[in-house]
Structures are given as structure tokens and as C-alpha cells.
């Protein structure tokens, strides 16, 4: 699924829909279920993930291509990426606190959560396994995160309505959310095979 073969649009469809982070790769389920109670916070989390995943893909690619590959240390990719992502999120948080206080107060509490978001690590590893180059890695990261943003916003919208719906007591709260997540995943199966 190289960028040169399918073009940017299909590359986007592939990363955001066919291989949706949540619904087909099952990565990042923790924030997906944990922060999707309100539309506002879900959007904040989603935007923060887009931001971090884009930068993380960039730096993970650089470290992989220019440090790990020349030394033949590809097997250290997971631990190196964890290190890079953790440091990066800290750095971004400090930078935002100083330079963009408004954005910081909007995203601030979600940034540290993203440090341990498996979707960020997952996308970096998938990029390397697929043999993506620099541009493909960054695009795949950003598009994948857009898919995550879409999933979490959709979920939050549904859950806000669930709050005021008449649901049997046994299904209230998490059970119905999990059932809905399952339905959404099945619906997204429809995108599978769209990009060949």
C-alpha cells in the first residue's frame, strides 16, 4: 500500500477507514472508551493524538532509518520508539505550556495520557514494518490519528445520547458502550478491501 501506487486520497482512506486504528487494528481502546463520555473532551483527546502521532511518526522514522538500520539494530525498534514518544510528549507539553497556553489548557491533561497510548507506538511500528519512507510514515501517522479522532468523536456523540436514553439497567454505562463499539467495528468492516 505505497503512496506512489495509490495516491494521497486512497492512502488516506486506507489509513483512516480500511485500517482504522480503533475498529480494525484495535489499538488505543483505552482512551477510546475512557475519554469518550463528552463530545468536548473527546475532540480534545482526538486532536492531541493527531498532533502527537504526526510528530512521533516523524521522529521514529528518523531514528529508525538513520540510527537503528545503519547499526543493524532493527530489533530494538519497540523500546527505542517508547523512549522517543515518552520524551517527545514531555517536550511538547513543556513547549505548549510556555508558548501556547490556550492550547495547553485545552489539551493539557490529555497529553500525558498519550504517552502510554498504544496507538502512537503501534502506528510507528506499523510504519516500519510496512517499509514506509519519511513522507509515507508521517502521512500514515496523521491519517491514522484522524481515523482515531473520527472514531472517538462518533463514540462520544453516541454516548452523550445514551445518557438520556431508556436502557435496561443491566446494560447501563459500560456494557452498552462496548456493544455499540462492537457495532461500529462491524460497520467499519465495510471499508475493508476498499483499497486494493
Amino acid at each position: 500500500m505505497r503512496l506512489a501506487d495509490i495516491g494521497v486520497f486512497l492512502f488516506f482512506i486506507n489509513a483512516a477507514f480500511s485500517n482504522n486504528m480503533i475498529f480494525s487494528r484495535f489499538l488505543g481502546n483505552c482512551p477510546y472508551l475512557g475519554v469518550s463520555n463528552k463530545l468536548e473532551t473527546a475532540t480534545g483527546m482526538g486532536v492531541a493524538v493527531v498532533f502527537v502521532m504526526g510528530i512521533a511518526s516523524l521522529f521514529c522514522y528518523l531514528s529508525y532509518a538513520y540510527i537503528l538500520v545503519p547499526l543493524g539494530l532493527q530489533y530494538l525498534d519497540t523500546i527505542t520508539f517508547i523512549l522517543i514518544i515518552a520524551a517527545l510528549v514531555q517536550l511538547v507539553e513543556m513547549f505548549m505550556k510556555k508558548s501556547l497556553p490556550a492550547l495547553y489548557s485545552a489539551l493539557g491533561i490529555y497529553l500525558p495520557l498519550i504517552t502510554t497510548n498504544c496507538a502512537v507506538l503501534g502506528v510507528a511500528l506499523i510504519n516500519m514494518r510496512s517499509g514506509y519512507n519519511l513522507i509515507e510514515s508521517v502521512l500514515s501517522g496523521v491519517f491514522g490519528a484522524v481515523g482515531f479522532l473520527m472514531a472517538i468523536v462518533l463514540m462520544a456523540g453516541i454516548r452523550e445520547r445514551l445518557e438520556s436514553s431508556d436502557i435496561p439497567k443491566a446494560f447501563k454505562g459500560f456494557p452498552i458502550s462496548l456493544i455499540i463499539a462492537g457495532f461500529m467495528s462491524v460497520a467499519f468492516l465495510g471499508f475493508a478491501g476498499l483499497v486494493k
Binding site: L76, L83, F95, K97
Partner: protein
């Protein structure tokens, strides 16, 4: 795998680690945002358990709210009078008196062999789970099953288990109320520290049933009511209840109780 490969691996990871460490510490200085130093002082003076009793998401948020003047200086329950006084000094306000200190007490003595078993519970170690099986493994529906829900909720390591009964260490207890919420049988109550005489039973069934179910259950015989000269203990719903305002800790009821369910606690 040769030695150089190991050295490369250690060198790359160690090098990256040191690089990021230095980078972050430099960035910390470079991007430092001046914060009100009172926030740091307040943060150090509170209990620091992130228990959320104050109503804020964690101690950091509470500290900021105190400095902004939104939260009361005595808002940290686990910190007690000590942190209230320290916060009052930092904020330059008169120390507000703290409410009467309370402590969590378990109102049950039905450990192994004392409260009789109805069946042997072998499921996962959770009181709530055990209680959901036809109101629990013990004959008494309000008995401590000792499977650790309160102990897991306690952030101060104040709860241990002896003979299948939870034991709360009053010296470690900060009255945060986490165990009160965790107990599926509502057996733990926050009572004034000074009220050392307590009826350690919560069973409101008739005396005959209680007698069968437990060696130390309150059967509602009212001997304590008669023994009390201060009108401080009354039997309601077949369970003795002590009015902590009237009780003078004379221990007449402790001596009078035939089932030894009124006890003196530390």
C-alpha cells in the same frame, strides 16, 4: 551475536536515554513557566494521596484552587488539622477550625468461626462478588466476608485482615471514606475518634436469627439500654445504636452486653 552488537545496542539506547534526559532538563529550564510559589508550598502541605475527597481531581488541582481562593484551606480531609493549619499560614488567613476528627470503624465482629458460614465461597476474592451470590456466604446478611474490597480501596495501608475480618488501624486511617464506599455491606462507618465505645454489629434481623448466625451479634435484648445511665444507647430495629453526643464512655453497656458485641476500640 558478537560483543560489538551488544555494545552497540547498549550504546544506542543508553545514548538516546541520556540525550533525551539532557534535552528535557534543558527544555525544563528554557520553557519554565513562573508558577505561584504558594502552589508548591500548598502541594507539599496537603496529604498528597490524590484521593479526591476534596472534590478536585487530585492534589495538584486542589492546591491551585486553594491559591486561587476557591477551595477552603481545611478542604484536605486526610491532611486533617495539621495541613489545615499549614495552609492557613501559607494563605495568610485565620485557621478555620476543622470538624471533629473522625475515623473509620468496622461495625462487625463476625470473623471466621464467629459468624457462621452458610456455604464455602470459592470464587474470586471480592466481597461484592461474594455478596452477590444469594446474599453472601455467611448466615448473617450484614457480616464482614473479609475478602478485601475495603483493603484494596484504602490508599493509606490502614486495613489488614485477621481471621477473615478487616482490621482498621486508627493511627493510619485518615477518614478519607474510600473503604466506607467500597464495603458492599455498608459495615464501615466514619465515627468520631473520641467515641471509643461502639456497637460492633450491623445486623437488624430479629434476635433469634442473629443468635443462630453469630456469636457476637446484637440480639436487641435491651440490657445495654437498661445499664446506661445517660440515655445514650437505644435499640432500634433489633440493633443497639449509641448516641455519640450523649455517651460518656462509662463502659456500663460493654459490661452488660451478653453477646459481647459492644466493645472498646483504640
Amino acid at each position: 551475536m558478537s560483543t560489538t552488537a551488544i555494545l552497540y545496542a547498549v550504546g544506542v539506547l543508553g545514548g538516546l536515554g541520556i540525550l533525551f534526559g539532557v534535552l528535557l532538563s534543558v527544555a525544563d529550564k528554557f520553557f519554565a513557566v513562573p508558577v505561584d510559589e504558594r502552589i508548591t508550598l500548598v502541594r507539599e502541605a496537603v496529604a498528597g494521596a490524590n484521593c479526591g475527597v476534596c472534590g478536585y481531581p487530585g492534589c495538584d488541582a486542589f492546591s491551585e484552587a486553594v491559591v486561587r481562593g476557591e477551595a477552603p484551606v481545611n478542604g484536605c480531609t486526610p491532611g486533617g488539622s495539621k495541613s489545615a493549619a499549614a495552609l492557613a499560614q501559607i494563605m495568610g488567613v485565620n485557621s478555620v477550625s476543622v470538624e471533629e476528627p473522625v475515623v473509620a470503624r468496622l461495625l462487625c465482629q463476625g470473623g471466621d468461626g464467629i459468624a457462621k458460614d452458610r456455604f464455602v465461597y470459592q470464587g474470586i476474592s471480592s466481597c461484592a462478588q461474594a455478596m452477590s451470590l444469594s446474599s453472601g456466604p455467611k448466615m448473617c446478611p450484614s457480616a464482614c466476608v473479609g475478602l478485601g474490597d475495603c483493603g484494596r480501596a484504602c490508599k493509606f495501608d490502614a486495613i489488614s485482615y485477621v481471621n477473615g475480618l478487616c482490621v482498621i488501624d486508627p493511627n493510619k486511617c485518615t477518614a478519607c471514606g474510600a473503604c466506607v464506599k467500597a464495603c458492599p455491606n455498608h459495615l464501615i462507618k466514619l465515627l468520631p475518634r473520641a467515641a471509643t465505645v461502639t456497637v460492633r454489629c450491623s445486623n437488624t434481623q430479629p434476635g433469634k436469627l442473629v443468635n443462630k448466625a453469630c456469636d457476637h451479634g446484637c440480639i436487641g435484648c435491651k440490657l445495654c439500654e437498661k445499664a446506661c445511665e445517660h440515655d445514650a444507647i437505644h435499640v432500634n430495629d433489633s440493633l443497639a445504636v449509641i448516641d455519640t453526643d450523649k455517651c460518656i464512655r462509662c463502659e456500663a453497656c460493654v459490661a452488660a452486653c451478653p453477646k459481647k458485641c459492644i466493645t472498646l476500640s483504640a
